[in-house]
Amino acid sequence: MIVKIVSKNFDIPDSHKLHVALKHGRYTSLEKLFSMEPAEVVEEVSKSGLRGKGGGGAHTGDKWKLIPKNHPLPTYLVVNADESEPGTFKDRQILEFDPHLVIEGIIASAYAIGANHSYIYIRGEYVFWAKRMQEAIDEAYGAGYLGKNIAKSSFSLELTLHRGAGAYICGEKTALLESLEGKRGHPRLKPQGKEPEWFFGAPTVVNNVETIASVPYIIKNGFEAYRAYGTDNSPGTMLFGLSGHINNPGIYELPFGVSMKAVIEQIGGGVLGGKELKAVIPGGSSCPILRADEIENITLDYESLIKHGSSLGTGGMIILDESVSMPLAMKNLFEFYHHESCGQCTPCREGTGWVDKILGRLLTGDGTQEDYKTMLGACDMLNGKTICVFAPSVAFIANSYIKKFKAEFDALCKA
């Protein structure tokens, strides 16, 4: 099942060093890249159907096309390496084992949208990976792959690594840009129509690390080669993750459209300790949970997961065995969401805390039916009343736990 496009060099010793990376194909897309017009690059990526790997699955080419022509301010490319969604640990593999692939992708993407400066925003905890990435950036500058006239072309690009400092919400693209501007990471109100992002008022594209790392293959081999993998609406591959109660936790690059169950059994080696599977959180904790009996026909692509009432998210699957108490798992996640709410919107800031508290009461045996109703009400309040989609996603996941495992919640409520 495994297909190695982005992860091709992961197992090569010292793959992060420039001289090794060069031996294994890095920067070979540049010749073709600079023979193309930027608009042609955008078109190629558009046709490949590449979708964002940061959780939303937006069409990358469509996003790039939103950059206005002839804007008075420079254009920026911001790479999202904030990776904080529970269950997600894929971007760090790319940063660790193939940082030059990230740089190669940044060169292509920046060239396509006309950016001469790019920032990588990396979560503060990733100290090792920030160092790794910075070493690669320094090597690339030294070898003429960054800076003025890259690979003797007329294209110049600066690349700056910027560290966050511990805030999940800074992965949300507008909060990330606020943070990059030196402020609290507060998501911005979204415009009515389609627009690019804005960094200090300048047109900006925000893309996930893995999205950017997928670009060189498309440039070098053409959109059809990428489309040879995956499905019509979810073309190509994704770095899927397995964690929790699974025998072989890890990151595996797979074409979209493979069976979730087969991946768990064949690649993941099945549930840890031979226990029964109880549930799967399909793509990071913000995706509604699926009961074991629901995953039978699920394939790992955007459409299949939506059809089954969840979403593909970041592809980071969390496996839960029969022993897990669902109210406890839900409480764990609500502690997370309460801690990570940026605090701008009252329903989100307070509601996540209420639900956490009520779940705590239920779990210690002091909960009542009234508590249960209050909890449902608080979850309801999270939906559709806030600045960003953080709160609505929390509402969706809450509903999935409560509805699908209702008996476990009922059992905890006194009269």
Binding site: R163, G164, F336
Partner: protein, 158 residues
């Protein structure tokens, strides 16, 4: 007068970074990091110093610094253990690991040892779910933790 000043190296770094952003305020997080590496935490003096340097108010710097969990507004121990408490780690036994550390150090999560040798903090997902349970010790990740591993790590810390 604020008592905090950047070391000459940090002054140099600051000047170099200034060239890399369209506006000065972008240097807020990088500057807070420099302060924390220089002093171990973000003191009020340093906040006043940064406000001047970034042409803003101390309250604004404070408001930003307090938003991000990694900025220490109080001193922390020589060894800062940050253990992940989120779901993938919980499923793999992070609670037992935490209790074991608490017992060995004689403190609860969120506290320092009296001699300021250790600080134990519970944190949310570290992006290491595939090698859970996981913690960060000062800045290094320690993964696939077991009670034996924790004992060996704690024994090795002078």
């Amino acid at each position: 007068m604020s008592a905090f000043v950047f070391t000459p190296e940090n002054e140099e770094k600051f000047a170099a970074l200034l060239q890399r952003y369209p506006q000065k305020s972008s240097l807020t997080l990088p500057s807070l990091w420099m302060v924390q590496y220089q002093e171990g935490f973000i003191s009020e003096d340093a906040i006043v110093f940064l406000a001047k340097k970034l042409e803003t108010t101390p309250m604004n710097i404070y408001s930003v610094a307090s938003f991000y969990t990694m900025f220490n507004l109080k001193p922390v121990g020589k060894y800062h253990i940050q253990i992940c408490k989120t779901l993938s780690c919980m499923l793999r036994g992070s609670q037992e690991i935490k209790k074991h550390i608490e017992n060995r150090l004689g403190i609860k999560a969120g506290e320092n040892t009296k001699d300021m040798k250790f600080t134990l903090t519970e944190v949310e997902c570290l992006g290491s779910c595939g090698s859970a349970p996981c913690m960060s010790l000062n800045e290094a990740y320690k993964e696939n933790l077991t009670i034996e591993k924790i004992d060996a790590i704690l024994d090795s810390l002078a």
